[in-house]
């Protein structure tokens, strides 16, 4: 059975801090790994990673995938209160389905 595990479960930091969120997976026929930000209801797409070692960046957010060790990290630098959200990692394996991790709840305090 496909499995995606995120850590930590929750994190509280202050504005300006840098955070690293982790996602490890065991998936049959890995295709891609996706990161989402969920603030209220709808997850918002952040990144899709398919190749090891290639960093994806968008502003203060960056992510990288290690297909040998089966994990990905999401980095957020100079955090702001608007970064407070649940961050979800999902992995696409056999078929078209995504398997989601349990999420990391990030709270950024002023």
């Amino acid at each position: 059975e496909d499995k995606v595990v995120q850590s930590p479960l929750s994190l509280v930091v202050h504005e300006g801090d840098t955070v690293t969120l982790n996602c490890s997976y065991e998936v049959t026929n890995f295709r891609s790994l996706l990161w989402y930000k969920q603030e209220k209801k709808a997850p918002t797409f952040l990144f899709m990673l398919t190749s090891s070692g290639i960093e994806k960046k968008s502003g203060r957010l960056s992510s990288i995938l290690d297909k040998k060790e089966l994990f990905s990290i999401l980095n957020i630098t100079a955090t702001q209160t608007g970064d407070s959200a649940i961050y979800l990692c999902a992995v696409g394996g056999a078929g078209n389905m995504l398997t989601f991790g349990g999420g990391t709840r990030l709270m950024v305090k002023p």
Partner: protein, 118 residues
């Protein structure tokens, strides 16, 4: 990316009743999915909505409880039947990016429907 809308955005329903949730996309998409997110939990795939044929359900979900329609490439409905308080969740539709390649897993989510069953 596709623009996805869902109706209703939220509802409070009595047990034993049924609710139909609509998902509308502004462009034709091949793949549409329905997810459930129970309170404090992550997303779980209910089914893949197939255009012109029966939906493909994941383990633990059945058509009698969650009938799905997909009459065309831009619209789908999910019905939550004979509801109980355990069905209280956020229900989300998602689509595979129509501009992405066939091997891409890039998926985008609708705004969600928050369902509370009393």
């Amino acid at each position: 990316s596709a623009v996805i809308s869902q109706k209703p955005s939220r509802d409070i329903c009595q047990r034993g009743t049924s609710l139909t949730i609509q998902c509308q996309v502004d462009s034709q998409v091949t793949m549409m999915f329905w997810y459930r997110q129970q309170p404090g939990q992550s997303l779980t795939l209910i089914a893949t909505a197939n255009q012109g044929s029966e939906a493909t359900y994941e383990s633990g979900f059945v058509i009698d409880k969650f009938p799905i329609s997909r009459p065309n490439l831009t619209f789908s409905t999910l019905t939550v039947s004979n509801m109980s308080p355990e069905d209280s969740s956020i229900y989300l539709c998602s689509v595979k990016d129509p501009l992405a390649g066939g091997s891409s897993y890039e998926q985008y989510f609708g705004p969600g429907t928050r369902l509370t069953v009393t």
